[in-house]
């Protein structure tokens, strides 16, 4: 798409405005994270900055924040990788190969149905399941639950991107003698790379922020960031300082990872796209 220069200026202004609006609460969080509680709750602009919130977050005996961060990272990365592989393969199979109409219909309905269930009702059975197979309070249980929760959307995105893709390229590769798997890796994946990148980002983000299942499937060893910082929202008060520090710090690795990964995933996968 080629736009004229006039639009370019307006474009920058609009994006700049959006960036400012987006950043504002985040900056507010950062400022709160270096304030004492009483300064936070008086909303004053002049205050004495302090690092005590971060100190408590990282070094207090009560806080398992570093463990939570590690857990969150591992869970998010692994479940994203699993979802990518499973959904890419599965979506390709469903979209490009002949299956009985009824089978694909039922599968699609089942997946969508599952996606609509309020999380509340699924937590109990999942707890029993994980407890039963001995995965309670292990990262694997949360990873599995996140994979299941994200698979519907991932499959739909992959299939919708594939639906748009003309079949000629793959047929050409087949004529050249490539195997199904080879075609899939060398031809299809680069072509749907933006879709896969979107799936990766969304799965990662969702997993990073997921609270309900992480809370109920873990105790102390496998707890994630959302579970960890929920402890700051207590029965009789909210520990604003620590919560802001945690929120600010928890977002950084995710932002860094994603901006790095997004570009790399798309670039690496589109390399070799036969345009």
């Amino acid at each position: 798409m080629i736009l004229t220069r006039r639009w370019n200026v307006i474009g920058y202004v609009v994006l700049g405005l959006a960036a400012v609006i987006t950043l504002f609460p985040f900056l507010f969080t950062f400022i709160n994270s270096i304030k004492y509680y009483k300064d936070i709750t008086s909303g004053t602009l002049i205050f004495q900055p302090t690092l005590v919130n971060y100190d408590r977050l990282f070094f207090s005996k009560q806080s398992a924040f570093m463990v939570n961060t590690t857990n969150s990272l591992i869970i998010a990365v692994v479940s994203t990788a699993l979802v990518l592989v499973i959904a890419a393969l599965g979506g390709y199979s469903l979209e490009r190969f002949r299956w009985p109409r009824r089978f694909t219909g039922i599968l699609a309905a089942w997946i969508l149905l599952f996606h609509m269930i309020p999380g509340v009702t699924m937590v109990g059975p999942f707890y029993l399941l994980m407890r039963g197979i001995g995965l309670y309070d292990r990262l694997a249980s949360v990873i599995l639950s996140h994979v299941v929760l994200n698979l519907p959307m991932a499959l739909w995105i992959v299939q919708s991107f594939l639906a748009d893709l003309p079949v000629e390229m793959e047929e050409a590769a087949h004529i050249d003698g490539a195997s199904n798997l080879g075609t899939f890796i060398k031809v299809v994946i680069p072509l749907i790379a933006p879709g896969l990148a979107a799936v990766a980002i969304l799965t990662f983000v969702f997993s990073w922020n997921e609270f309900l299942f992480a809370l109920n499937l873990t105790s102390t060893k496998a707890a994630t960031i959302p579970v960890g910082i929920a402890k700051f929202a207590q029965q009789y008060e909210v520990r604003f300082g620590e919560m802001s520090a945690a929120a600010f710090f928890a977002t950084l690795p995710a932002v860094i990872f994603l901006s790095f990964a997004q570009r790399q995933i798309v670039k690496g996968l589109t390399l070799g796209a036969l345009k």
Binding site: D55, F59, T69, T70, F257, Q264
Partner: protein, 479 residues
Amino acid sequence: MTTAKKLDRRQFLKITGVLSGTLAATSLAACAQPQPAATPVPPTTAPAAPAAPAATAVPAVSTGATVAKVDPITVLINDSPWFPGFEKLVRLYEEKSGNKVNLAVTPFTGMLEKTRNATTASESEYDIVNLNEGWYATFYAGKFMAPLQEIDPNFEVDPNIIDYNNAMRWSHDKNYSTKDGIVYGLPINGNIQLLYYRNDLLEKAGLKPPTTWDDVADISKKLMSAPNLYGFATRGQKAGFAVAYDWLPFLRGYNGDWVAKPGEDWAVTINNAAGRKAMSKWLELLKTYGPANVADLGQADLQQLMLSGKIVQALMVVANWSAMDDPEKSTVVDKVNVTVLPKPVEGRHATTTGIWVMGVPNNLPDKRKKAGLTFLNWALSKESQLEYTKFGAVPVRQDVYTSELAADPKYRWMRAMADSTQYIVESVRIPEGPQITDSIELRLNQAIAGQMSGDDALDNMAKEIFAVLQKAGYKTKLG
């Protein structure tokens, strides 16, 4: 084919790059494990006082080498202002007894579900669970807790432990906590309501601390100057058990209650004359002397009002005390004091319990049950409770409240606590409690938000409570 090979290699390198970058970041994060606690920041310092000789009749387990050696236990508990105190007590126990205790700290939001999951599994993962007043009835009534006297036939409840209206017991015949019920748990946090007020402002104006609600109104009239200084407020927010909890002492103060006599007579009486008086008094106080957004006030907001010096009096719980003298949180350090909750001129004092009890799940082998009980006994002894107080928590023994500690200005809240023990009234302690408090909560919030009149709110509450009780099989009637 050479192009294909090049693609493969470049692809491979890119993907490896991303993966190793992730791995590197992860291992960096993992390497930065927290050091064992640096200096935690407690509001009180904790010198280990020598154990005072126990003057109680029942030989309680004291802090000494007489504690039996048992297996390590795991305690489920939520993070809260009194948790640091509990944690220090646990470390003291480990030091004195050589027994190990693991703390599974959970956000408050997950406590009920975790407790339920653990107690309904084939074997509980926790040896001790903390039950909030709002839901202990389900666990007692459902026989999910081990009767303490079954674990140890010699077990007896120390009479110095405040019983918070039989919160430790349950009678399966009466379906309620009664004096002769089975002992299923021991209190660990004696949270009740108190009236917080600005001592400095009252003294400057030559006013005495309020004893009746009319005093509260009087003080408010004289001292408030909205919007910078409000006179009085309770919570008004609908949030689980917020505004309902704050209104109950009004109801009880006028000698009303949600049913005629919990445990005996389940006729719904919430909308009788006493209820109406309680409702109108409460509405009047809040609307006249409280902030404009009182319908949105939660516990944190109310505490903030006091801490930032914007309100003269507030109905809060003792758990809020630790923030008052904390220089990081409070702009009114040493300016706040507490007193027994006021009463209506023609009524009585009442304060509602919002306590936590600790119990031992029933789905445990005997050895683990005994280990849990060993800790419980130790924690409830007088010496331990004195240390517990110094660690910043809320003790549960009357002899601690009347001890020498109460004379220390740092513990000036203990006097009000000691005086309040006789006025303790329980909240709604039946398994169907949450449904009932949800109804009271919603209707109260609608009343204070101006969405319906106080009388209509009461009548709606009555209808809903009646429906719940009837469906659950209680012998009840309306009015």
